[in-house]
Amino acid sequence: MVKMTDLPIKGGFSFDLCTRNQMLLEKGLQMPPFRKTGTTIVGLVFQDGVVLGADTRATEGPIVADKNCEKIHFMASNIYCCGAGTAADTEAVTDMVSSQLQLHRYATGRESRVVTALTLLKSHLFSYQGHVSAALILGGVDVTGPHLHTVYPHGSTDTLPFATMGSGSLAAMSVFESKYREGLTREEGIELVAEAICAGIFNDLGSGSNVDVCVITKGQTEYLRNYQLPNPRTYISSKGYSFVKGQTEVLSTKITPIQPKVETVGGDAMEE
């Protein structure tokens, strides 16, 4: 089979199963729920670069699925991306674009630019018509300077000096709108980001646990995992728990003997 040229990838959503899915729903099938991140993610531009921030709670409906997940994803050494929406979608799309950026770096021999990552993300999301539920805040510093963008699941983007996304975005935005100004220093930028995330953590049910921060400047990136831990566990009993025999009431007993091994004696060897 001749396959030296890569066929153009047929992107976009395949609608083949839609009729079947509709029929199943009418019959009463419950679709499995997506694990949404129910998040607060933020980003801002300061004088030397960008600061990104995120909370660390992943929810599955009313249950906290992960108390300390990582929402700030690596795209390139100078570009990071916060993800809100369906956790699997944000992971998959950021991993895919990160891989494409690496190949692009080898082909061009240059550091990746934020607009490249942006265009790759938005084209992918647009071709899936919003079914890839990834809302992202993309930030980085390249030769053209610091950049901060938001990307929506349908593929639209904004370029902003400060941005928030996720279910806690309103709480975080209130902090930014009152305290953001141009030309913040690195310390001020980190403080403001941490404050905005905390606003999301404490006022939004979908966000919680810890604060992750990522500071990107020209030539250097610092990923401050768990920069703040405002929700420590304080209820662990140091004595531990003891379960004494007889504490649990036995309602009924049934003993089933395990079948003894049946040994076969004699017989012929198998024909080859």
Binding site: V2, M4, S99
Partner: protein, 235 residues
């Protein structure tokens, strides 16, 4: 691809059991510029001649030694454009491996996949074998490794090897000079001396290229000034 008059495979067996096109491909490699590689105890070095067709060519725009992954580099002998195609495919395969297993591709795996591509082109219709042999140098959890991949798709692990124009002299030289406990710095000096053996004209940092990888597992191509420093040490 399959509806032209010549869609049969050009690599059909000869009565003596040889694949003539592959033999010819090896000839193309044999007339290419000399390249070599040496595996040391703590790293690998690859080197090649960089003879440009004219003095008017901007030598800073040409780089023969390339990276496949941060810890695997490659040098070729033969047709440059063919090597670029293989390089592109191998880089993509390395990325796909990472996406699937979330770990860097081991050197042997990448060599195997590159070799598989080269073999494909000896058994497909409407294509010709690649006119390059590659020397793949890498450092992973199994330590430093050096592999040679031929147009037929066969690959070998080497302690030291050479390809291209001056291959027999270079290999004899390497056989004499190679020692099991050689370290990276010695290997670089030996590589330079081997290239010098068959070099026409004045050797300098501008007409040879050297790539090294050490225990830091970062493959890098030396700058021409670094090569000049090594050349001064060797003299």
């Amino acid at each position: 691809m399959g509806d032209s008059q010549y869609s049969f495979s050009l690599t059909t067996f000869s009565p003596s059991g040889k694949l003539v096109q592959i033999e010819h491909a090896l000839m193309a490699v044999g007339s290419g510029q000399t390249s070599l590689g040496i595996k040391a105890t703590n790293g690998v070095v690859v080197a090649t001649e960089k003879k440009l067709p004219s003095i008017l060519v901007d030598e800073t725009s040409v780089q023969k030694i390339q990276l496949m992954t941060p810890n695997i580099g490659v040098v070729y002998s033969g047709m440059g454009p063919d090597s670029r195609v293989l390089l592109r495919k191998s880089r993509k395969q390395a990325q796909q491996y990472f996406r699937l297993y979330k770990e860097s591709i081991p050197v042997t795996q990448l060599v195997r996949e590159t070799a598989a591509v080269m073999q494909e082109f000896t058994q497909s219709g409407g294509v010709r074998p690649f006119g390059v042999s590659l020397l793949i140098a890498g450092y992973d959890d199994n330590g430093p490794q050096l592999y040679q991949v031929d147009p037929s798709g066969s690959y070998f692990s080497w302690k030291a090897s050479a390809m291209g124009k001056n291959v027999s002299n270079a290999k004899t030289f390497l056989e004499k000079r190679y020692t099991e406990d050689m370290e990276l710095e010695d290997a670089i000096h030996t590589a330079i001396l081997t290239l010098k053996e068959g070099f026409e004209g004045q050797i300098s940092g501008k007409n040879i290229e050297i790539g090294i990888i050490g225990t830091d597992r970062q493959f890098r191509v030396l700058s021409s000034s670094e090569i000049d420093d090594y050349l001064a040490e060797v003299e």
